[in-house]
């Protein structure tokens, strides 16, 4: 099995799906000759040509809307939003259209589109190249919101997203792109959308998180093991609709729960996990359900000390786990 970095897993999934199904095509800004500003589509333009690796005008609502049209026709578009922050002009197309087309047409039409977008900070991207957008979409039935943490999951979940008959938003942490490496089988495989994954077994504290923060949790867990604190790490993977059963199970497993997100706290997707626990596991808990998140400010600032103050990291997670273990 080959070791691959996070972004190569994206490229690999795209390439394999495009080879497998000639209805799959990529569209977005600079995805063609340039291969994407993060190089996610590198080599695809040369292999599949300009119609299937389509450089679009600079207009996100059209990227989404044209993709939705092509998906209704029967193709499998993979739309790239250059940064998650720049999906906002496309919100109407995503929420009013993609999410509601199957329902409003009483199952006559469907929208098998995948919308990929790099999210997250810690790369000096400032307010508008660092945001976590998942909370915005995680109250819209009809959508699925996937945020993978490992190259293995990236490849398997992206393939599953492309094959999914419904619209999937696929957020990739841009700091993970070249930082996170892992084993990625060269064969075809998928990882099921909608299922969380235990990334580490433990007994004292359960951390539930997703995306890059999974790695902070795993690193923290590793360190805390030396102190005799055993951490259970649940990678939510699909943040909407949430894998409620897995959340309940992992909560009951230790009775002490830390929810972690890089997003700001109030209104984050963690709340669905918290509410689920409060609704189902009240009598299994040994400590309050803790949320560890960014401060409630509009987005991550640019200057290093401010960005660092905002950004999640291993130390913050470690400290929170320790406090909960000691509760």
């Amino acid at each position: 099995m080959a070791t691959s970095n996070f972004i190569s897993a994206v490229t690999q999934a795209l390439k394999e799906e495009m080879e497998r199904d000639d209805g799959v095509f990529v569209l977005g800004e600079d995805v063609g000759a340039k291969g994407g500003v993060f190089r996610a589509t590198e080599g695809l333009y040369e292999q599949f040509g300009e119609l299937r690796v389509l450089d679009t005008p600079l207009a996100e609502s059209a990227i989404a809307g044209v993709g939705i049209g092509a998906a209704m026709y029967g193709l499998r578009p993979v739309a790239e939003m250059q940064f998650a922050d720049f999906m906002l002009p496309a919100v109407n197309q995503i929420i009013s259209e993609a999410a509601k087309i199957r329902y409003r047409s009483n199952n006559d039409w469907d929208v098998p589109i995948t919308v990929r977008a790099p999210y997250g900070g810690g790369i000096h991207g400032a307010l508008y190249h660092s945001q976590s957008l998942e909370a915005l979409f995680a109250s819209t039935p009809g959508l699925k919101v996937v945020i993978p943490s490992t190259p293995y999951d990236v490849k398997g979940l992206l393939k599953a997203a492309i094959r999914d008959p419904d619209p999937v938003l696929f957020f990739e942490h841009k700091k993970a792109y070249r930082l996170i490496k892992g084993e990625v089988p060269e064969e075809d495989y998928t990882v099921p959308i909608g299922t969380a994954d235990v990334k580490r077994e433990g007994e004292d504290v359960t951390v539930m998180t997703y995306g890059l923060c999974v790695h902070f949790a795993l690193e923290a867990a590793e360190k805390l093991e030396a102190e005799g604190i055993s951490t259970h790490v649940l990678d939510l993977r699909t943040v909407y609709p949430l894998d409620h059963a897995a959340v309940v199970e992992a909560a009951r497993h230790t009775g002490k729960i830390l929810l972690v997100t890089e997003d700001n706290k109030e209104g984050s997707v963690l709340n669905e996990a918290a509410a689920t626990i409060a609704e189902n596991c009240l009598f299994d808990l040994d400590a309050p359900v803790e949320r560890l998140a960014a401060p409630d400010v509009p987005a991550m600032p640019y200057a290093s000390p401010l960005e660092k103050h905002y950004m999640m990291n291993t130390e913050k997670v470690e400290k929170a786990i320790r406090e909960l273990a000691e509760f």
């Binding site: 299937r52 059209a62 809307g65 044209v66 092509a70 209704m72 006559d108 039409w109 009809g142 008959p165």
Partner: protein, 330 residues
């Protein structure tokens, strides 16, 4: 008398009568809907009245067996031509389970039927316009030769989605017909407070496409413009923007009272130019329609509508529990 317009266009008696019949059917369904609404039997109507000539002229120039239609809420004349039946539309008016558009989930006027190549629409205006471009882009990728017609009001041509979609279609020279039904008002706002240019079709040049403005009360003129646009599309010459000038003869919807923003005189004047009246006259003058044929046509439509109304009124709603169905594929 020089060659009549329909001859030049190669349209024959039967087709012409078919056009009138569709226009009349749309009108009469709509009139019935208002009666049903005022009688408290259906909650909402949004009308085609005044637009039928433009709508039917346009779709007559398309191929319902291969082209795609992405209409807006007034396009009853279009969807009838593409295969929606009177009964279908009555089912939608009554929000019954048998409504093929949405099973009663959407308001009337939110058309959609995969079978008939009518692409499902929503309420936020202009969102269908990029979808039309997406269908056309898919056709280009798949080397198909269909065209897509999408329609919208003049007010809706101010939405960002119109601009983004039109430009996309222009850059990729896609066979999309952007069909603007200019009826002078967007609810209460008159066109001169709505768009800064004289005609919506002036916008075509922004997207490197052909644009023209046509008398929407003349179905033959609209047919010609759309036929040419469809030909251009099939020939790889890219998109077109066709604007028809009509007038909305009813209030905006059954929830609107138009007296606060337009005079009765203005509405009465428009009624005189009603395309249904003038086209009937055109056919009769040229002996393409006899009085008997006309009467039979009216009677037949009336009967169909009566039957459809009855059927729809008696039809069942979807079961309450089906509210939960079809959020995702299952």
């Amino acid at each position: 008398m020089s060659e009549a317009k329909h001859e030049r266009l190669g349209l024959e008696r039967q087709q012409l009568q078919g056009m009138l019949q569709t226009m009349l059917t749309a009108r009469k369904i709509d009139e019935r809907m208002w009666l049903l609404n005022r009688a408290g039997k259906i909650p909402f109507v949004i009308s085609c009245q005044g637009h039928e000539a433009a709508q039917v002229g346009a779709v007559t120039a398309l191929r319902p067996d291969e082209d795609y239609l992405l209409p807006y809420y007034r396009d009853m004349g279009m969807v009838l031509h593409f295969g929606m039946t009177v009964k279908d539309l009555m089912m939608a008016g009554f929000a019954r389970a048998e409504d093929p558009n949405s099973g009663g989930r959407q308001m009337p006027g939110h058309f959609g039927s995969k079978k008939h190549r009518i692409v499902t629409g929503s309420s936020p205006v202009t969102t269908q316009v990029p979808h039309a471009v997406g269908f056309a882009m898919a056709g280009k990728i798949k080397k198909e030769n269909f065209v897509c017609l999408t329609s919208f009001g003049e007010g809706s041509s101010n939405q960002g989605d119109f601009h983004e979609a039109a430009n996309f279609a222009g850059v990729h020279r896609l066979p999309v017909i952007f069909f603007c039904e200019n009826n002078h008002y967007a609810i209460s706002v008159p066109v001169d407070r709505q768009i800064a240019c004289e005609r919506v079709s002036d916008r075509a040049s922004s997207y490197g496409m052909h644009g023209e403005t046509i008398d929407g009360n003349d179905p033959l003129a609209v047919y010609e413009a759309v036929k040419n646009a469809a030909d251009r599309g099939r020939d790889g010459a890219g998109p077109s923007l066709i604007e028809t000038m009509s007038y909305r003869l009813t209030p905006h919807s059954s929830d609107d009272d138009d007296r606060s923003y337009r005079s009765r005189d203005e509405v009465d004047d428009a009624r005189k130019k009603d395309g249904i009246v003038t086209f009937t006259e055109y056919l009769k003058t040229r002996e393409l329609l006899t009085d008997t044929e006309e009467k039979d046509m009216h009677d037949a439509i009336q009967q169909t509508i009566d039957e459809a109304t009855e059927a729809a009124e008696e039809a069942a709603y979807a079961e309450a529990e089906t509210t939960l169905d079809h959020v995702y594929h299952s």
